[in-house]
Symmetry: C2
Subunit: 408 residues, 2 copies
């Protein structure tokens, strides 16, 4: 009879110190003793990656991406070795592998490589020997033996890709929270843990600010229909299942409320209202690697118009410099930078078939005297840019009025 195969991924906070590594080892061994074949993907210990980035920055603020991958991939290599040792200590068999050793083949895009192929023969062979297989997350290798990394949160991707390739029965993502919440529980203590959520909703929530999982890994899980279980490594309660379709009560329109305070707004005032003007600006921004998020062009009453857009705060300086340059070229009046904004969003597949969700959202904000500066919508989400000072109250009110709070 074939044994079940489970892929488990433990994030950095789950292996932040000796005691936590031991706890993960215990949990892993417990699973293994239940009769599962286990493949365990581990991130770097706690803040290791940040510390290495900081060290590199002191040496070269503009480091080669190839060398960054060389540097950062050591973090996960340390984790897998230590976890293997901890499992050995408990008397079970385990073997650790780097991404390179285990055959996670990627393209050449250092620091954001894409997985091309995984050869799981080695893993299968080790599982057959009765060993727990521990794989370094976040990293891969090119055909040319160059070490690559998969971008921030890349260990999620490693786990999902392995689960797909190994046709695992389940893929568990262990983290320091209990699962996916209807909103950030630090803002709204009434936030509920979501039992089931669709890939699409999770993707939307992740890209709108929920930081539990890497968006790319959810895309891949969706593409190959890998069911994910996001749960806490600190207890044994079940967390949130991320799956294809969720059977919901008909009146559940909104699954979650997200908040993102890491954006800034730039407004280019008095832009001559002629075709092709906006294009110039966004071309220049794209060329410089500034990724623009929302864009709003006001309806113009005169011969000129205002264009507002949001960007990541980190790109503020670069973006406002470029915008000022373009403003001069095209004869715009002024460039305004506003860092005191927040994006509050509601997410839910229920919106697709229900009208009036946007209107309800705007109404809730209006009732609370919160001014909406920009709006952006997708099939399953609506985002509003508001003043940062209104952010928390907006989240709380939306959360309550869309019926997400815990039953009293």
């Amino acid at each position: 009879m074939s044994r079940g195969l489970v892929v488990q991924k433990y994030g950095g906070s789950s292996v932040a110190n000796v005691e936590r590594i031991q706890r993960v080892a215990k949990r892993v061994v417990g699973y293994s003793k239940k009769g599962y074949d286990l493949v365990v993907v581990v991130s770097a210990l706690g803040d290791t990656t940040d510390e290495l980035v900081e060290l590199a920055d002191k040496i070269n603020p503009n480091p080669s991406e190839r060398e960054m991958d060389m540097l950062l991939s050591t973090g996960e290599q340390i984790s897998v070795a230590l976890l293997a040792m901890a499992i050995h200590k408990l008397g079970s068999q385990a073997i650790s592998f780097t991404g390179s050793q285990v055959g996670i083949l990627t393209d050449n895009s250092h620091t954001r490589a894409r997985i091309i192929k995984i050869n799981v023969d080695k893993i299968r062979a080790e599982l057959k020997k009765g060993r727990i297989v521990i794989v370094a997350g976040f990293q891969g290798v090119t055909l040319n033996q160059e070490i690559t990394t998969l971008g921030r949160g890349g260990s999620d991707l490693t786990a999902v890709a392995l689960a797909k390739e190994l046709q695992a029965d389940s893929c568990e993502i262990y983290t320091d929270v209990m699962g996916i919440y209807t909103t950030d529980p630090r803002i709204e203590p009434n936030a509920r843990k979501i039992k089931e959520i669709t890939y699409d909703e999770m993707l939307e929530m992740a890209s709108l600010g929920a930081q539990v999982m890497q968006p790319r890994s959810i895309e891949v899980a969706k593409k190959f229909n890998v069911p994910l279980h996001v749960r806490s490594s600190f207890n044994t309660q079940s967390g949130t299942m991320i799956i294809k379709e969720v059977k919901k009560m008909e009146d559940v329109l909104v699954s979650g409320v997200t908040l993102n305070k890491n954006e800034a707004k730039i407004t280019l005032c008095g832009v001559p209202d002629k075709p092709g003007v906006a294009v110039k600006l966004f071309e220049e921004l794209a060329t410089s690697g500034v990724s623009v998020d929302m864009i709003v062009q006001n309806v113009s009453h005169t011969r000129s118009t205002d264009i507002s857009f949001t960007i990541a705060k980190a790109d503020c300086l670069k973006a406002s410099k470029i915008t000022k340059k373009v403003a001069k070229k095209i004869g715009a009046n002024d460039v305004l930078l506003d860092e005191d904004i927040a994006r509050v969003s509601i997410v839910g597949v229920g919106m697709k078939s229900h009208h009036g969700v946007a209107a309800k959202m705007f109404g809730i904000l209006a009732d609370n005297k919160i001014n909406i500066e920009m709006i952006s919508t997708s099939d399953i989400s609506i985002s509003c840019i508001i003043k940062k000072k209104d952010a928390e109250i907006a989240v709380k009110k939306l959360h309550a009025d869309f019926g997400l709070s815990k039953a009293k």
Copy 2:
């Protein structure tokens, strides 16, 4: 015209922090600009290896050697990436490689692997592109893609093996001291830096306690006649050349005095004076991985004899346990452990052709009322075990009386 090729090795203290890494980068770039092809071997930053060992020990005091290699090899990987970044910052081209990437093929003996073959094609190709090639020291890879390490000080071996394989014009070992000294300058301020020393003398000195280079790397250098230059990474003065033959004044008998305080002595008293008794003891010790250094069996006047031997202090507990067990079995009287000993040695190829060097050494010690407890000799060295409290004075007197001190 072919350019000169230099292999440089920088030890952990030479890359202990950001500022030192930058200094090494500067030195390397300076050499490269002089027109040399450069291959740079780097150890782990400062105390990284010790810190990783400590971390592993907390998790599993008896860790798998395979996983230890997995863990420890990250130290050098961090160093090479950072050094590459530092060189890039100075505007030069450089590329870093792990032992695995660069094709340092070893056997399967984890934590003390032996190099089988090095494929230097990759290095040559990168040098041809005008790049400085940085190689992680201390590590290799098996045919099966398993990561191995070459034992403590293994980066020296990496450098020597690369120098041999690349037929380098020179192999420079950078360290935090100025070169090889006639004795430890911390004990004897009059110690002189040795300009030239033979492989054999250096080997002897290294195995007798001088910690500048890994003994195995010197063996390999000797075997393939790779000239070594041991020098400081903190200045540009030339250090010590380690070569095949040194032209010396005829009256130079002794090249250096070494001291080793890391041994302990065990005496097994009242051993029945029958053949095969000693064998039992040393077999048991060897089986348990205790490496015995000097052995002295006292001339017996009665039917029983005493056997004394020295071991590394780290093996004390294990060794005395085993000896007590054997003592019981063979009917010996008593087992004595003495940790208050030191080994003082003189080294010099000049001894080979001169008699009376040993007598002179014993005389010097006797004149200073230093009791000799054990004696061991080789072709080019004489070692005496003395009381630890006499160690420093013994070194000073031997150093002076064999004419090694600085000219006044």
